[in-house]
Amino acid sequence: MSATDTDAGAALPKVRADYLPLLLPIAMALIALPFIPSGSTWVTLTIAGLAMGMMIFVMASGLTLIFGLMDVLNFGHGAFIAIGAYMAALVLVPLTGWMQADSVWLNLAAVIPAVALAVGVTGLLGLAFERIVIAPVYGQHLKQILITMGGMIVAEQILYVFFGPQQIPLPLPATLRGSFMIGEAAIEKYRIVCVVVGLTVFLAMLLVLNRTKIGLLIRAGVENTEMVEALGYRITRLFVGVFMAGSTLAGLGGVMWGLYREQVNAAMGGELLVLVFIVVIIGGLGSVTGCFIGALLVALATNYIGFLVPKLALVTDILLMVAVLLWRPRGLYPVTSR
């Protein structure tokens, strides 16, 4: 800490932006290269990893912001993922004809309302959930964990009640089926769409966070909610908005995942929740960029290891989490002061 800096003599330590974590996914992809026999397989696996990473990022980004800003642990986040997927199925199953037609317009005419419904329903449910279930237990972590877990269970069961326990098939729209070839590598069209969607969400979030006053408030609130209030902002109003945004993103992620797997089932929320938590922890609670990188890392690793050592695939995410935490105990980009 320099002694006197009221005049121009003081030198500020050069700030190196923390680029290291950004390089990790690239490093991982490059490290995997020599191990994978054919270049085209590597390309396919990498694109698969990128696509999966984007979907997970969309699902997880809301959670990290919600925790970072509101200090709320929503163990029920998985419910929004599943509900989003089911709402899409609700629209797409009756419109199977349009989905199977080989026309972009007809496909869009089915997909757009599906996404709209998924996003709308999860947004509204997020509002209700925040006001009714979460607001009474602000600041009480244990109760939040318990109540949101309860909420998750109830939501999953209600899905069983209305939709039955069996899987519902959700085939991709005809124009997004299949792959195109780059050299010997087969690249699925849908995966490219996922990458585009994921990148758009990421860039949109960065834009809002860094260029708007609301984004400013969110970033400041993640660090120190008290001080933001002491500056005169009623930040609790922002909470509801952020929560809704988070649940909406979860719903969108659910739709993407459902189409990816070409089926939806009520248990998907719980299964994906663990993955989402791991990604959020790796990225650092409250950091959108960290979440993005974490998602890419987990997805890429799962794909590469799934190819190379299939038995390890299911625990790859945990091993990755342990490795990252040993390096940076609070995640790649710890933002909050907690």
Binding site: H141, L146, I147, M152, V161, K311, L314, M321, L325
Partner: protein, 357 residues
């Protein structure tokens, strides 16, 4: 009336209603083979004993140390599988049981130690999420290593002869109820669970236990007073894990089977969580009351639900048949869970104690 009734380690029920309830439960469980003859009631009674021990071990973690962990079923599973694998591999002998225990209990404690050490580097919230991840990884592992664990199907095995149902000690015509190896197994389970519970009571009322409570109240203060909070937390973790593993071993002996669904499923974790929360966190007696009520409801309420569901179906009402379908047990569980967190934060025991001032 002395409050230093030694077996209770100086931690009396502190409520007349609670004391009566506890005595009733204790007597009911002790005399279960004779009071409630039949396979199913005995099954329920055994499950109650085991879950009381299991839930009490979780209360040590959650209620007394303030640690939120979702990996507790892992330790239960280790105990279960330890005994199961030994009996399956070595045959129905007592030394197999012993071997299973000797491997499983320290393994559970060791795993708890490793997890506890990890908590040095991460905060409570991280810890909860990480235990969730670890528990699911473990479950995956158990079903993947099917050569060892029998995979999804689990392991069936025979227990030592003296515990087998076929072994008759006292035929039915003497006492009205046959005393068989099953009865003996039941009493083995019962006595062990009682001992485990009393052990936990001793732990939480020892100086170690009081430090745990101080840490739960205010970790910074405890640290400032010179207590190494992490060491205490880790130790509590290990003790809880060992007790859970012991409960798992008993479960395996009783069921003569161990599989992912009976010992590792997340449903069991939720059961334990619910029992401790509804019964009353940080009381240990909450595990007794909560466990009894919960297991009874789980077994007998589903029958009720089934008849409600059929009735609604016959009446032609939409949705209700699915709502009351016995498989939807978790739905009502979940709602009850949420309501109890809101309205009964101190649990049943807390309410009873508060009421009698």
């Amino acid at each position: 009336m002395t409050s230093r009734f030694m077996p209770l380690s100086g931690d009396p029920p502190r409520s007349k209603v609670l004391a009566v309830a506890l005595i009733a439960i204790a007597l009911g469980l002790a005399l279960a083979p004779f009071l409630f003859p039949g396979a199913k009631p005995l099954n329920v009674a055994a499950k109650i004993c085991i879950f009381i021990a299991l839930a009490a071990s979780y209360d040590l973690l959650l209620g007394y140390t303030g640690v939120v962990s979702f990996a507790h079923t892992m330790f239960y599973g280790i105990g279960s599988y330890g005994v199961a694998i030994a009996l399956y591999g070595l045959g129905a002998r007592w030394d197999a049981v012993g071997l299973g225990l000797i491997v499983a209990l320290p393994l559970a404690a060791l795993l708890a130690l490793v997890i506890g050490l990890f908590s040095l580097r991460v905060q409570t919230i991280f810890f909860a999420m990480i235990t969730l991840a670890v528990a699911s990884a473990f479950a995956v592992l158990a079903s993947q290593l099917s050569w060892l664990t029998g995979g999804e199907d689990g392991r069936s095995f025979r227990v030592p002869e003296v515990l087998q149902p076929g072994t008759v000690f006292i035929p039915r015509d003497v006492l009205g109820v046959a005393v068989t190896g099953r009865t003996l197994t039941y009493y083995l389970v019962f006595v062990c669970c009682v001992l485990l519970f009393l052990l936990l009571l001793r732990v939480v009322n020892s100086p170690f236990g009081r430090v745990l409570q101080a840490i739960r109240e205010n970790p910074f203060r405890a640290e400032a007073l010179g207590y190494r909070t992490v060491v205490h937390r880790i130790l509590a973790n290990c003790i809880a894990a060992a007790v859970a593993a012991a409960a798992g071993a008993l479960n395996a002996l009783w069921l003569r089977y161990t599989g992912p669904d009976t010992s590792l499923s997340f449903a069991i974790m939720l059961d334990i969580l619910l029992i401790v929360v509804i019964g009353g966190m940080g009381t240990l007696y909450g595990a007794v009351i909560g466990g009894t009520l919960y297991i009874m409801a789980q077994n007998y309420l589903q029958t009720l639900m089934s008849s409600l569901s059929t009735a609604a179906g016959n009446a032609g009402i939409p949705v209700l048949p699915q709502l009351f379908h016995p498989d939807r047990w978790l739905l009502w569980l979940g709602i009850l869970f949420i309501l109890s967190v809101y309205f009964f934060p101190t649990g049943i025991v807390g309410k009873l104690r508060g009421g009698s001032g």
